[in-house]
């Protein structure tokens, strides 16, 4: 039987995701996740949020065009 509620699990979800909980607390969280589909979904979408933020930025850099020519020129002028 899990004694953990949704509010407790979500308050410490970052510690759960980053594996910073002591084994006993982690086991309590795991028991709650087994019986709570809403928290399972929250955990999955929280992880996906981190992945999306990082992935979207990486894609942005992949697709980034060259720096604007006027910026390149301005930087070079500072040096001259």
């Amino acid at each position: 039987m899990s004694n953990v509620t949704c509010i407790e699990l979500i308050a410490f979800l970052d510690a759960y995701v980053d594996d910073e909980l002591d084994p006993e607390t982690r086991a309590d969280f795991d028991r709650h996740l087994l019986v709570c589909p809403s928290c399972r979904a929250y955990l999955a979408t929280y992880r996906e949020t981190i992945e999306l933020a990082r992935g979207a930025a990486e894609r942005e850099e992949e697709l980034a065009q060259d720096a604007p020519p006027e910026l390149i020129e301005a930087v070079k002028k500072v040096r001259r």
């Binding site: 979408t45 949020t49 999306l52 933020a53 500072v78 040096r79």
Partner: protein
């Protein structure tokens, strides 16, 4: 340090103008992406890139040979962008509570969460979806957006970010967790249905 980096640094230290131009042409675009993410203002982002190269050139003697040039420039660019953020008039810290989950008196979520239809990997294949993620990040209240950008996107260590933002590690941890939850809330309606 990469072999190419070593050669480039050696040339920069001799005041080689061509080497400086190569440095600028190779690194300006990724650095501009970093400063744009932090500042969300095109003019300020470009200024920060200029200042990055000026600082890099002046500090070329401090470059540690075990570093990569890209990592060294990235660190300088983050610092330049954060300096600009501090110079802006301090905005009132907007309340992020509306974007955090809410609970019943018995501690359960007041609205059930549901899984998203696609994995993050699949979503990221579509440029339109990536743009939407970036728009949602831009909607975060500034202190939370900056923490999320520095920790989850730029992946700077917690100690470094706490020091740069002049907050405690505990405060940083709380802000990052709230930022992720707020971003999740903003993404949720879009990700529940197939985009």
């Amino acid at each position: 340090m990469l072999a190419d980096d070593g050669h480039l640094i050696a040339r920069l230290r001799t005041g080689d103008d061509v080497a400086f131009e190569e440095l600028v042409e190779h690194h300006a675009a990724p650095l501009l992406a970093v400063t744009r993410r932090i500042l969300r203002d095109e003019e300020e982002a470009r200024d920060a890139v200029q200042e990055t190269f000026v600082a890099a050139f002046r500090g070329i003697g401090d470059f540690q040979s075990e570093s990569r040039v890209s990592t060294w420039l990235h660190r300088i660019a983050v610092n330049c962008a954060l300096m600009k953020l501090r110079l802006r008039e301090r905005r009132r810290e907007q309340d992020v509570d509306a974007l955090l989950p809410h609970f019943d008196p018995d501690g359960h979520q007041d609205h059930s969460s549901v899984s998203w239809r696609e994995t993050a990997e699949d979503i990221l294949q579509r440029e339109q979806a990536c743009a939407l993620v970036r728009q949602c990040i831009d909607q975060l209240p500034e202190p939370y957006r900056v923490v999320l950008v520095l920790r989850d996107i730029e992946q700077l260590p917690a100690d470094v970010v706490a020091e740069k933002l002049q907050i405690t590690r505990d405060n940083l941890k709380v802000k990052l967790h709230r930022a992720r939850q707020a971003l999740r809330t903003l993404l949720d309606p879009h990700m529940r249905g197939a985009m």
